[in-house]
């Protein structure tokens, strides 16, 4: 069964969605990720969806949910690499991912997470 890999980078987890996300896969990711945040004591999660070309309301909501769950586990979620067409679709669906931080690419997303960690340690 296919699975979305979760990579650990320091205190952060990196999730790269490289296949078309179907519902089962999204649910699986939700399980895996929450388990992994706890196991790795991660402080931040970076979800890269730059190769995602199609989204529906379910996937949009899953992304929101994952972010909210990570927040409960004290890990900031940044979603990066949203394609213009995907952004327009999400807005038209009324899902503007309130409460989720977004960045243009992995670089920017990483900078956001590190900034937050640095703020806390100060």
């Amino acid at each position: 069964m296919e699975k979305i890999p979760i990579l650990k980078m320091g205190r952060f987890l990196l999730v790269t969605v490289q296949v078309d996300m179907h519902d089962q896969l999204a649910l699986q990711l939700q399980d895996d990720l929450t388990a992994r945040i706890v196991a790795a004591r991660a402080r931040g999660v970076l979800i890269d969806i730059s190769s995602l070309e199609v989204v529906d309301s379910f996937i949009g909501r899953m992304i929101s949910n994952i972010a909210a769950m990570a927040k409960v586990l004290d890990a900031e979620t940044v979603v990066v690499g949203i394609q213009p067409a995907v952004a327009i679709t999400l807005v038209e669906l009324g899902l503007s991912l309130e409460g989720v931080r977004t960045a243009l690419n992995v670089d920017r997303g990483m900078a956001l997470l590190q900034e937050r960690l640095a703020d806390e340690q100060r």
């Binding site: 990066v80 213009p84 999400l90 503007s96 977004t102």
Partner: protein
């Protein structure tokens, strides 16, 4: 008694000069000549060319089927005339009168030819009327078509003109919106803004609505949608250029813009953007 159409052909072939003189005279005295738009010499030249083409067409072709190949040169000529008149600003009836005004001189000549033969005259007049009407309608149709083309082209140009996304600074984009934001334009604006964010990696987009005449709930909703989409791409939006009246309208309508940074002028928005990019992304600025 000559065959139907024979007399018309004869008149066109033999009396072309007088016919032309009468026709031009009729057009100049009538309302169809717009002296402000067109010189009489040009009108005479057009009339002469059309008469010659008409003679050639009637000579070899049918008098009723103007879609045939015999009439193609005359049709092309008429299309050219009506297109140029559409561009010059003639009205549709003025353009159609160019053809219709040929009736009177033609009928006068036909009457002369037939004399007392009322039946023959009636038949020939009917034939001529039908022919001229078809040509006139064809002219009017082409006129309308070319006007539509002009309108479509202008619409397209306006669409392209009105949605430029400009880069003001490293990581800062500006989007001056001119004109009313309807759904179609919002779509174009959104797409070009998001694409530009991808291309330039901008972190802040300033949407300047100085050129938006009125803001109603729909326009506000479109603006908020654009802001939300840009945020999903990781870019913050600042809305600037809000005129006093528009600020009042927004509050009266109960539109909630509290989630978005708003500034009165583009200059204010730009200075905020500069501060923010430097505070937030010093490494990117330094690297570039």
């Amino acid at each position: 008694m000559p065959a139907a159409g024979q007399t018309l052909r004869k008149i066109l072939a033999q009396n072309q000069k007088e016919l032309l003189a009468d026709w031009v005279q009729a057009q100049s005295s009538g309302t169809s000549l717009r002296a402000d738009l067109m010189k009489e010499a040009e009108l005479r030249e057009q009339s002469r060319e059309f008469l010659a083409l008409m003679q050639a067409a009637t000579d070899s072709g049918s008098l009723t089927q103007i879609d045939g190949s015999h009439w193609s040169a005359a049709r092309e000529f008429l299309a050219r005339v009506s297109r140029s008149r559409a561009q010059q600003g003639f009205s549709p009836s003025e353009t159609a009168t160019f053809v219709f005004s040929l009736k009177q001189p033609l009928f006068t000549r036909l009457r002369g030819e037939f004399g007392q033969d009322a039946q023959g005259l009636a038949e020939e007049v009917w034939l001529t009327t039908e022919l001229i009407d078809r040509l006139g309608l064809f002219t009017a149709e082409t006129f309308v078509k070319s006007r539509e083309e002009i309108i479509q082209r202008q619409q397209r140009e306006m669409m392209e003109l009105s949605t430029p996304v400009v880069q003001l600074w490293e990581n800062i984009l500006a989007l001056p919106v001119i004109g009313t934001l309807d759904s179609e334009r919002t779509q174009v604006v959104m797409e070009s803004l998001l694409q530009k964010i991808v291309d330039t990696g901008a972190a802040i987009a300033i949407i300047d609505i100085t050129g938006v005449p009125t803001v109603d709930t729909l326009v506000a909703q479109h603006l908020l949608k654009t802001v939300a989409a840009a945020r999903l791409m990781g870019a913050d939006c600042i809305i600037s250029g809000i005129r006093p009246q528009i600020a009042q309208t927004i509050v009266h309508l109960g539109v909630n813009l509290s989630e978005v940074t708003t500034k009165a002028s583009l200059a204010d928005a730009f200075s905020v953007a500069l501060k923010r990019t430097q505070a937030k992304l010093p490494q990117q600025l330094g690297a570039a």
